[in-house]
Amino acid sequence: MRRYVTNPMIIKELRQRLRERRSWLLPTLYLLVLSGIVVCVYYFTTDTDRHLRGVEVQGADIGQAIFLAVVLTQIIVLLLMGPVFSSGAITIEREQRTLAGLLTSLLTAPQIWWGKFVASLLYLLLLLASAIPLLALPFAFGGVEPLDLVKALGSTILTLASICAIGLWCSAIFRRSVHATASCYAIVLVLTIVTAVSFGMLYSHWQESHPGAQGPPAHIQAPLFLNPLYPLLTLIDENEFRSYVYPSSSWLMFAGIGCLAAALAMRRLQRSGEQL
């Protein structure tokens, strides 16, 4: 176990990543995007309420709107960044011809995989952590509980870990970074768009056959369990809506997919001497 904690791959990967120009450029852009979203949501919420409905704006409404907007924006942005960091991690070793050096050292395939995985995830977690002040902002307005923040962060981290594992699997099976990255983006696209469209089709069909029924049952929602945004729907502060969302099913799905991708990537890595 100690070998996985003091893994030289992690130090090497982090050192290399933090030397890249994007290591400071991406957090800057990321925070600018999130800040822009916060400002837009704030003005949109207050302006809409004030001018269109003519009611006094409630602090809790602003807090919830900002919180949801930041949580959803950051998972979308991080889903776009995840494949960049993970799907090139092993292919770059092939392209640079450095993989043979790793495979003939005393590092095992799981150690190499773990080093790559932790380094990919840690960078995304750095971005996530850098946005915590923005996520804490809604507490000043109210309407958001600390548990919501924990749930949002936990769900996002689990989803990103799975995406990183999928990215590493793509990286293990392809020879070129560009192919691995494209494949990983295709998988992310399937998980976000295709699952949502599938759910929409199933739901409309189900509504036709069950007029007046309340909320879609679990089997109709099944495609959404694979959607990274789905568990975050529980953060919407409407009890009626919340009762129809099954976040734990989604968490289990992502944990399972992540473990499967990890196992397949390690297996492939063990045999990658044949690709050199």
Partner: protein, 309 residues
């Protein structure tokens, strides 16, 4: 150090190794020679635990490569034909990473890194980025890297490719030093003159099979040969010299200058010795005499003459 028996390895469309066998002792520096596609790299990759063999037995330092790959990796250092390098790392960091990858513990770790830097001649440049090194320096760094854990065996696949003459000379000297330190070396190369210079034995391979095995030629009057080429600088009568040569049927003069003669004798080194004796007996003053059997190039031509790569 290496025991390979009846090794087979096939790929989808081709056969990599077809019953190849090799035994390499602890104190040997063996050159692996063969045309492109002969199976040299496949063999080295199997030894380095990168490729699984289809059948046959492969043991390195007493450990089976398929059942004890970690023990094999601990016993060997592998330099691939195109060895990549982490451009964005400093030289010191590069060696530190591989010292950790080979699980070296302090104080051995620090000592190994210092020794590697010294061996590569990069002790003063440990803070430099690897990308600033020339190909020759990179190769030296690679060689030092694979020696970090003090392996007993080195597997070198085309280590001199792309190096300039000076870097090649330095590489040869380094390999000679390592061999003198007791490291067994298996080196694959197309640069026959380099192999001829440093190897204690040459192994020929073609189409995945052993082709021919012979002693690497000794510098002077060494290995038995069908033709011995003699270089002679002398003082004395050229006619007397010609008369002596007529005693050796088949002797052929290749080049003649004032006081210099290059000729070929059929036979082996003992025939060259006999010729030298007769020249001395005939009163010729010998300033320089050098007789060589067929070089590695000639032996290569004999072994693979009709094969195209």
């Amino acid at each position: 150090m290496i025991e390979i028996d009846a090794l087979h390895k096939s790929f989808r469309k081709s056969r990599g190794l077809d019953g190849f066998s090799l035994h390499l002792e602890n104190n040997e520096l063996v050159g692996l020679v063969g045309p492109n596609g002969a199976g040299k790299t496949t063999l080295i990759k199997i030894l380095a635990t990168l490729l699984p063999a289809d059948s046959g037995s492969v043991r390195v330092s007493g450990h089976d490569v398929s059942t004890a790959p970690a023990a094999v990796r601990a016993a060997l250092g592998y330099l691939p034909d195109v060895a990549g390098i982490y451009q964005d790392m400093r030289i010191g960091e590069f060696l530190e990473f591989f010292a950790d990858a080979f699980r070296l513990k302090e104080p051995r770790r620090t000592a190994a890194i210092e020794k590697a830097l010294e061996r590569a001649g990069l002790a003063e440049r440990r803070q430099d980025f690897v990308e600033h090194l020339s190909l020759g320096w990179r190769q030296r760094l690679h060689l030092s890297k694979i020696l970090l854990h003090e392996p007993k065996l080195l597997l070198l696949d085309e280590p001199a490719t792309g190096l300039d003459p000076l870097a090649r000379i330095q590489l040869r000297e380094q390999l000679r030093r390592l061999h003198a330190e007791g490291v067994a070396i298996l080196i694959s190369s197309h640069i026959l003159s380099d192999l001829e210079d440093i190897c204690t034995r040459i192994v020929f391979i073609a189409e995945g099979k052993n082709v021919h095995e012979a002693q690497a030629p000794a510098p002077v009057l060494g290995a038995p040969a069908a033709i011995v080429r003699c270089e002679l600088e002398f003082e004395g009568s050229a006619e007397v010299l010609d008369r002596v040569l007529t005693d050796f049927p088949g002797a052929r003069v290749l080049e003649r200058n004032d006081g210099f003669l290059l000729f070929e004798l059929p036979g082996a080194s003992r025939d060259a010795s006999a010729c030298l004796g007769k020249l001395l007996a005939a009163g010729i003053t010998i300033l320089h005499f050098d007789a060589r059997g067929p070089g590695l190039e000639e032996r290569y031509r004999r072994a693979f003459g009709d094969r195209t790569s």
